[in-house]
């Protein structure tokens, strides 16, 4: 978990990526995902990360734990860094911790998790539990989940950041909840990250939150880029717009993801998946060209006609 190594890794647009599987170095050449800077430090992150809602909640099922570790290995091999979870997501944190240990704690990993409790006193305890489940000493990013008791938890997280137990502080919401409150927090609090829902149909953040994030120098993590898969199901079988080939989008998931990460305020989108081919496909979306503002409008217009 060294910043210098990360910077070297992400600073290269295309490179030979060393395999991170315990089996050894299986070098292969592939395009690395594009990166964006975290405004508060300048550290760069690949613009596609990995969510864990539902997908890594596999309990203590040994077969599914190994399958999840394989997905996470493929994520790192493809140049991904940020993995996001929450105490709300069942055993997902423990699954990620299992995978990180199995993979030898890849240095490029960027750990993002949340505090999810209405109790102020439970916040520090939950942080310790989360860190233990990830099997890490330092968490890269801790966020207040869905603005729950955010004042108390944000204060606690800022203290932990000052003590270097965490590197970044953020706050999250999902599915358009409490955007007004989120805007106030972004205006008044010293936070590094904000996480919100943004996709081709849920574009309300374009009006205030995304411009505000740029203005205030706050990194943006986008959850539900596929509306939990419903967008893929909805558009599957429908024709792609002609510009899809121009930006290297071979299918709807890639087009939908390219739309999200092409917004200049977005730092990282975190689609979740249980499939290795999908995780590779997602990171491939971030390696190729992205739609410009004209193309983004074309995508919106095309989808409106479907």
């Amino acid at each position: 978990m060294q910043f210098s190594r990360r910077t070297i890794l992400q600073g290269t647009a295309a490179a030979t990526v060393a395999g991170l599987t315990p089996g050894g170095l299986s070098a292969k050449t592939q395009a690395l995902p594009l990166t964006r800077q975290i405004p508060s430090t300048g550290e760069v992150l690949p613009i596609v990360g990995l969510g864990s809602w539902i997908t890594f909640n596999v309990g203590n099922d040994p077969k599914l734990l190994d399958a999840s570790a394989d997905v996470i290995a493929a994520f790192f091999e493809s140049g991904g860094r940020l993995i996001d979870s929450s105490p709300m997501y069942g055993s997902s944190q423990a699954t990620i911790g299992f995978a990180l240990e199995k993979l030898g704690f890849p240095e490029s990993a960027f750990s993002a998790d949340k505090i999810w409790t209405s109790s102020k006193s439970e916040g520090p305890t939950q942080f310790t539990e989360t860190r233990n489940l990830w099997r890490l000493k330092i968490m890269d990013l801790m966020q207040v989940h869905n603005l729950l008791s955010w004042r108390a938890h944000l204060e606690m997280l800022q203290e932990k950041k000052a003590r270097k137990e965490i590197r970044y502080v953020g706050i999250t919401t999902s599915h358009g909840r409490r955007h007004g409150d989120l805007e106030e927090i972004m205006m008044s609090q010293d936070i590094d990250f904000v996480q919100l829902t943004y996709n081709v149909l849920d574009r309300e953040p374009e009006n205030r939150l995304l411009p505000l994030a740029r203005e205030r120098g706050i990194a943006v993590i986008v959850n539900r880029p596929f509306q939990r898969g419903s967008l893929i199901a909805r558009f599957s079988g429908k024709p792609l717009p002609k510009i899809a080939s121009e930006i290297g989008a071979r299918n709807w998931p890639q087009l939908l993801l390219k739309f999200v990460i092409s917004h200049p305020a977005v730092t990282c989108a975190i689609p979740a998946t249980t499939r290795i081919d999908h995780v590779k496909e997602n990171l491939e979306s971030a390696a190729g060209p992205l739609p410009d503002s004209t193309m983004r409008k074309t995508i919106i217009d095309h989808i409106a006609q479907l």
Partner: protein, 224 residues
């Protein structure tokens, strides 16, 4: 959780259909051959309740109560909680249900309706109880694999259904209180399976509806 109104059912569905099915596969693997024992005990409950003597019905409810304790500890705490934090809240409810049924058995508050005077309610009660014991067969018929099927006394759905069938045979008002937790679980499991897109989501609520009919059926006092 200050903003409950903004959450939907799917927000609390933390796991995939594959994970949920494998939960029962692993449970069956780990407990084999306890399924044979629990089914044997379930059959004993049916026989004891059909026999209907004060002693036999007390034993039947003691077995049912023990089944809930096993489900609460081994399933909700030992298994379900690993994929859903709600498991730690549901387990005590299963424990309460188990304690309640055991208390009924110990106190002898298990007077049953007569199969002749309450033929419809009695028939439905026995039918629902039998369905709880045959739950794996019903599940397989609706597309679940036998490896991932649920068994009375080990997992909640058949235990709740069989309990409702037995409770429907009770004569006293205690049947209303006794049915609450099993009925709640039938609703929870129906919502869970429905949200997961499972074809067997209707089994428990249909049997619950039948049990409610039998439980609500008027009890008349016959004096000779």
């Amino acid at each position: 959780m200050g903003d409950w109104s903004s959450y939907s059912l799917s927000d609390f569905l933390l796991f995939s259909p594959q994970v949920y099915e494998r939960l029962f596969v692993l449970h069956n693997q780990d407990f084999w051959p306890a399924q044979l024992v629990s089914l044997g005990l379930g059959a004993a409950v049916l026989i004891l309740l059909v026999r209907g003597t004060p002693a036999s019905t007390r034993i039947a409810f003691l077995i049912l109560g023990a089944a809930w304790l096993v489900v609460g500890g081994a399933f909700f705490l030992g298994r379900y909680q690993t994929i859903n934090w709600l498991g730690s809240y549901i387990a005590p409810l299963a424990g309460i249900q188990g304690a309640l049924l055991i208390l009924l058995g110990l106190r002898g508050a298990t007077g049953l309706i007569s199969s002749t005077n309450h033929r419809v309610a009695h028939t439905i009660g026995v039918g629902v109880l039998t369905s709880g014991l045959l739950y794996p067969v019903i599940e397989v018929a609706t597309g679940t694999s036998m490896r991932g099927a649920q068994f009375f006394g080990l997992t909640p759905d058949p235990t709740a259904v069989a309990s409702l069938g037995a409770i429907a045979l009770l004569n006293g008002r205690v049947r209303l209180v006794s049915a609450l937790i099993p009925a709640m679980w039938c609703v929870v499991t129906a919502l869970t399976l429905s949200t997961l897109g499972r074809s067997d989501f209707a089994i428990a609520p249909v049997l619950l509806a039948l049990a409610i009919l039998a439980i609500a059926w008027p009890r008349t006092t016959h004096t000779s």
